[in-house]
């Protein structure tokens, strides 16, 4: 009765592709167990098997020592297994409580007992330190709060084994710290947790044990106290990984992107970008550091033409591109790795091959006299899949079926391959494994070295400090400071991002 969950020699095959090749995962009661592996290693698949979304093709699952067959998520619920999905499954127009009780509503003489439900939700929230307002509308609360609602949903259904699939990928650093705290509270209250994350730091910080898988095979299970990030990275990737990417000093050339007095309103009509000025030169990477919601999204969407700028100008290579249609801006030489890969980056129901020509499908050689040239399209797709190590059964597979990290690699491949004069990379490594991150950083630096301008937006300070040649700190829609990454610290950046002036931050 030592293990609450035992997945023994689990095998899962898609067509001819083996996603899980006899993987064994054993989770002890009251521990936080990390599941670590490259993009496409089969982590989500394994968890979907445990949660009853997929049926295994082999192996055995035991819960608290008893062999079980988890035929659907309801069975998983009954066994006390809850899952917090990476893409939340909440009804936007419902309140927190309504979302939580959906499907297991407490009733009193045939009507929903909302008062009781709210009380129960509030109690649960307090007990685990979640600080969720049971009466708030989902649409009105932050992503971090929405995630907590997902956690409450599983707790409300009586889960004592919680699966988190990349919970921190969508969170700000502050929210991540809070989530860690919540997870500690959960295990203290006797819950067990399986945590999927690509961030080794997080594993070292909160996890007790870690199971590493690579290309569908179980590699090792280790005590976190007895290992270190280097060993974990090497185990999962199968080679040594450099955490900081070596690069030559930048040799900035002429200005490529020049933004003057830009004002952009957000969907609510508030000035999200408020008189912003910024220049990015050829041959340099400018990183934008800032807390989420300070105008980063609106800035990028205005540059790429997805939303209209109120006033100000945006120039590319000296040419005014303000408020041009997106296609004109793309043709002028802008590449864009979007923040939300499902919303903007991919047509999920298209094959991965067709997604590779999403912007260029109408140009030769992909289009000839108005007809698609599939040979050329899939030729290009195969080249990019090879070059960017996109793990997919083949180029005809729907983008939807790829693992999150591999979808991201496909998008990056497409954008870098178009060789734009300005490459905008918004959260380019979100959800990527350490090996892939190293690779992407190298490609960004390579673009720079070839004389291209790169604008990097990231909530990961590590990434901004590591890759950028200059860091522009954005706060309330303005660039409040430009700093040299070699002469700044995370502390200083943190203070600047919170709105304090340069002087107060202790730098002259």
């Amino acid at each position: 009765m030592e293990y609450v969950i035992e997945m023994l020699n689990i095998r899962k095959v898609f067509g001819t592709f083996v996603a899980n090749d006899n993987i064994t995962l054993q989770v002890k009661k009251g521990e936080i167990h990390a599941l670590l592996g490259e993009n496409g290693a089969g982590k989500s698949t394994l968890m979907n098997v445990l949660f009853g979304l997929y049926q295994p093709d082999g192996g055995e699952i035991r819960v608290k020592g008893n062999p079980v067959r988890i035929t659907d998520p309801n069975v998983a619920n009954d066994l006390g297994i809850g899952m917090v999905h990476q893409h939340f499954m909440l009804v936007d127009t419902f309140t927190v409580t309504e979302n939580i009780i959906l499907g297991s509503e407490p009733t009193r003489v045939g009507t929903i007992d909302m008062k009781r439900a709210e009380r129960e939700v509030r109690e649960l929230s307090e007990r685990y330190g979640l600080a969720v307002d049971p009466t708030a509308k989902i649409a009105d609360i932050s992503v971090g709060m929405q995630q907590r609602v997902e956690i409450l949903k599983t707790l409300y259904r009586g889960a004592d084994i919680l699966i988190f699939d990349e919970p921190t990928a969508v969170l700000t650093p502050q929210e991540i710290r809070e989530l860690m705290q919540i997870m500690r509270t959960l295990v203290r209250e006797g819950k067990s947790i399986i945590l999927i994350t690509h961030k080794l730091k997080e594993i070292m910080e909160v996890c007790d044990r870690v199971t590493v898988i690579r290309r569908g095979k179980g590699i090792a299970t280790l005590n976190v106290a007895e290992t270190n990030p280097n060993e974990l990275a090497a185990l999962m990737v199968g080679r040594e990984v450099q955490f900081t990417t070596a690069k030559k000093p930048a040799e900035p050339g002429k200005p490529v992107l020049e933004i003057k007095d830009l004002v952009v309103k957000d969907a609510r009509g508030i000035k999200a970008v408020n008189g912003l000025n910024l220049t990015v030169h050829a041959g340099e990477i400018v990183g934008i550091a800032g807390v989420d919601g300070n105008g980063q999204t609106e800035l990028i969407e205005a540059i790429t033409g997805l939303i209209k700028a109120e006033s100000g100008t945006i120039r590319l290579n000296g040419r005014d591109i303000t408020n041009l249609p997106p296609r004109k801006i793309i043709e002028a030489g802008v590449g864009h790795i979007p923040q939300d890969r499902h919303k903007h980056g991919l047509v999920l129901d298209f094959p991965i091959g067709e997604n590779m020509v999403l912007q260029t499908y109408y140009q030769p050689p992909y289009s000839k006299r108005g007809l698609l040239n599939f040979q050329a399209i899939y030729e290009k797709a195969r080249q990019l899949i090879r070059e960017f190590d996109v793990r997919t059964p083949d180029e005809y597979t729907k983008a939807r079926a790829l693992s999150g990290g591999n979808q991201q690699k496909a998008i990056i491949g497409r954008e870098v391959d178009r060789d734009p004069d300005l490459l905008i990379a918004a959260q380019p490594t979100r959800g990527l494994d350490v090996g892939a991150i190293e690779f992407i950083h190298k490609r960004l630096i390579e673009q720079r070295d070839r004389g291209k301008a790169v604008l990097l937006v990231s909530f990961e300070l590590d990434e901004v400090m590591n890759v950028s040649d200059r860091i522009a700190v954005i706060y309330e829609g303005n660039i409040v400071a430009i700093v040299d990454p070699k002469e700044t610290t995370e502390q200083e950046l943190g203070l600047l991002m919170a709105g304090s002036k340069r002087k107060e931050a202790g730098v002259s």
């Binding site: 296609r327 793309i330 919303k343 903007h344 298209f350 067709e354 499908y361 108005g370 698609l372």
Partner: protein, 348 residues
């Protein structure tokens, strides 16, 4: 993999069979002989060359209305206005058909083109409203159906006839009538339109799957945000999709105006061809080849059903129920798929 192919094929057949069983129960319960009933249905659809001709004639507009609905579906739109687009197409075709004296090689294509343009115009309006004002196309297309019906009736009365209820027949040079089919199918109303309908199915497949424009239309249909991000003009594509969908519907009207009837009469209500097109498209999986088959199913049921009251004595109301049951089972074939997968799991 192989068993999947087989399933693709077997499931619709199984669905029809289940529908027939359910229909049999209904007939038995009401005191009719199901064997005689279904014999009449099948005989009435395929029993001799006359019936086959009628079935094909009925299938012709179904193919086109099915394509119209499917084209919109595939591009992310729900075109309930196929009925109205068909009616204006019918009117335009007949109008051109009676008004000119031209060689057939010009007159017939001109009449077809007029029908396509009229349907396209009827699709353009909801398309523009959707693209620029975000008005839902379902609401506008329903309204457009009524406008089409009444405007057409008014034009038939005041322009195409002298306060009558029927236009003159279209000129021979614009007619789809076929002496050849007439001869081999014992004077059924089958006409050359079937070739146009099958060609249209090919056009739809080609347009969507092979052309650059089709790539764009499909992309916008699946994900407008990604399409905009990729530089596609989302509004223009929404409008174009409705226009093309409407053009298919308009040609469906031409099948009736230049082929089946050879004229146009005032209508008390809708033809139903456009609404049935929604079911044809869904059952055909919104795919050109599938629509050919599902249109044939609908055509056969519609024509065969006419035989049930006369030769098996089943009252028309009951026939309608039986036909609906068969369609219901085909439409819910995903249920059968689910049952099959349960079965297979149990057998393991």
């Amino acid at each position: 993999m192989k068993s999947n192919r087989l399933q693709q094929f077997l499931i619709p057949l199984l669905a029809v069979l289940l529908g027939m069983i359910a229909g049999s129960i209904v007939m038995l319960a009401s005191g009719y002989n199901p064997i005689a009933g279904f014999y009449a249905l099948v005989y009435g659809a395929f029993g001799d060359t006359y019936y086959i001709g009628e079935t094909i004639r009925q299938t012709t507009p179904y193919i086109l209305t099915g394509l119209a609905v499917a084209f919109a579906f595939r591009t992310g739109l729900f075109n309930i206005g196929v009925e109205g687009q068909l009616i204006v197409g019918w009117l335009a075709a007949v109008w051109v058909g009676v008004s000119f004296d031209l060689p057939k090689i010009i007159h017939l294509p001109l009449a077809l083109l007029a029908a396509a343009l009229a349907g396209a115009l009827w699709g353009l309006i909801p398309g523009v409203l959707k693209a620029y004002l975000k008005v839902h196309e379902v609401i506008i297309t329903i309204m457009m159906n009524y406008i089409a019906l009444h405007v057409t009736n008014a034009i038939i009365r005041s322009v195409l006839s002298d306060e009558g209820f029927k236009s003159k027949p279209v000129k021979e040079s614009a007619s789809l009538h076929s002496d050849f089919f007439d001869a081999i199918t014992h004077h059924s109303t089958m006409h050359y339109g079937i070739f146009i309908a099958v060609a249209a199915a090919f056009v739809m497949w080609f347009l969507l799957e092979r052309t650059t424009k089709g790539f764009e239309l499909r992309a916008v249909g699946f994900n407008q945000h990604a399409s905009q991000y990729a530089g596609m003009n989302v509004r223009a594509n929404i409008i174009l999709a409705m226009v093309i969908s409407g053009a298919f519907a308009g040609v469906a009207g031409a099948m009736e105006g230049l082929g089946t009837f050879g004229n146009i009469s005032t209508k008390a209500g809708f033809t139903g061809l456009g609404f049935d097109g929604i079911a044809v498209a869904l059952i055909g999986g919104n795919n050109a080849f599938g629509i050919l088959l599902s249109a044939l199913l609908f055509g056969a049921l519609k024509v065969g059903a006419l035989e049930m009251p006369s030769s098996a004595g089943v009252p028309t109301e009951l026939v309608d129920i039986i036909i609906a049951l068969i369609i219901f089972f085909v439409a819910s074939s995903y249920m059968i798929r689910w049952l099959l997968s349960r079965w297979q799991k149990g057998a393991e």
